[in-house]
Amino acid sequence: MGNVIVTGSNRGIGKAVLEKFAVNGWNIWAHGRARNEEFEDYISGIASENHIWIRPVYFELGDDRQIKSGMKRIFDDKEEIHVLVNNAGMGYYDTFQRTPVRKARELFDINFFAPYEIIQLTLRKMVLQKKGAVINMSSIASLDVNEGDCVYGASKAALNMLTRDLAAEVGRFGIRVNAVAPGPVRTDLLENIHLKRIAPHVMEEKSAMGRMGRAEEIANVVYFLATEESSYINGEVIRIDGGRK
C-alpha cells in the first residue's frame, strides 16, 4: 500500500483504476480535467469507506502551465509518490488524409506530451525515494494495424517507446516503467468514437473471447504492475485484449 496518482480518474478505465487502488487501501491523488462536485462526493464516499485519503487534483492536459501547477499542488502535500498511472487520454478515429496536422498535434499533446511532462516531474520525487512505478495507458491500436488509427495509434506507439526506453534509464533508481495496451473497453471514449460507426459485435468478433474488455480487467493489470507482485517486470507493454483473432 502507498500513494498513487491516477490521471483521468473521474470516468471510464481511470475510475476503475481509482476504485481498485482504493479498495486495496491506497491513498490517491485523483486527477480530473475540471472541478466536479459529483466526483468529489463520490471520492469522499469511497475514501471514508476504505479509510484512505483521496485528494482531487484538476488540470487540463493540453495546458503545460496547468500541468505544472497541478503537479506542484501534489508535491506540496509532501507525501511520497509511489505510483503514477497516466491513464487520461483522448481517442480519435479517421483516415490519415482526413486528419489535419493540427489534430495530430492535439492528440500527441494529450496522449504523449502530457504524460511525458507528468512523468518528468514525478520522476524527480521517485529518484529521491529510490523507488516507484509508472504505468502508462497505451492501446492495442499502437501495436496492431487498423485503417483510421494512424494518428491515435502513433500517439500511443510513441508512449510505448517512451515507456521502454525510460525503463532502461531509471531502473537503477528502483523505478519501473510499464504500459498496458487494452483492446476495446466499453467506455464513453469507445461509444463516442467507435460505436458510432461500427456495431459492437464487429469489435467483439475480433476478440478470441468474443467480448469486449471490462474496465476492471484493465484496472487489475494496472494494479498488478503497481505492486511488488510485478517487481521484475520493467519496460513492458502488456496487451489486455482477450486474445485477437
Binding site: 505544472k68 503537479m71 506542484k72 508535491f75 518528468q120 516531474l121 520522476l123 524527480r124 520525487k125 529518484v127 529521491l128 531509471v170 537503477r172 533508481f173
Partner: protein, 79 residues
C-alpha cells in the same frame, strides 16, 4: 542552515562527493556527476529549496557555480 549550506549539502548527498570538492565541480568532471547523478542532484535541489525547475534550467545547470546563478536569477534564492 543558510541557502549556501543547503546548496552544498544537496551536492554532497546527491553526488556522494566530499564537501571540500564541491565548489570546483562541473558536469561530467567527476564520475559521480554523470547523467544519472544529474537526476539525483536536480531532485535534491528541488527538495531542498521547494521549487520545480524548468527543463531548460536543468540542462543549463552544468557546474556548481552556474547552479547558484540559475537558482538566484530564476527562483529567487539568495546566496
Amino acid at each position: 542552515m543558510n541557502n549556501k549550506e543547503k546548496y552544498v549539502k544537496a551536492f554532497v548527498e546527491a553526488l556522494n562527493v566530499g564537501e571540500e570538492s564541491v565548489e570546483q565541480l562541473k558536469y561530467q568532471s567527476v564520475e559521480e556527476w554523470d547523467s544519472v547523478g544529474h537526476m539525483s542532484l536536480i531532485a535534491a535541489l528541488e527538495e531542498a529549496f521547494d521549487i520545480m525547475m524548468d527543463t531548460d534550467d536543468i540542462i543549463e545547470l552544468d557546474s556548481f557555480e552556474k547552479g547558484m546563478s540559475i537558482l538566484s536569477e530564476n527562483y529567487e534564492i539568495e546566496f
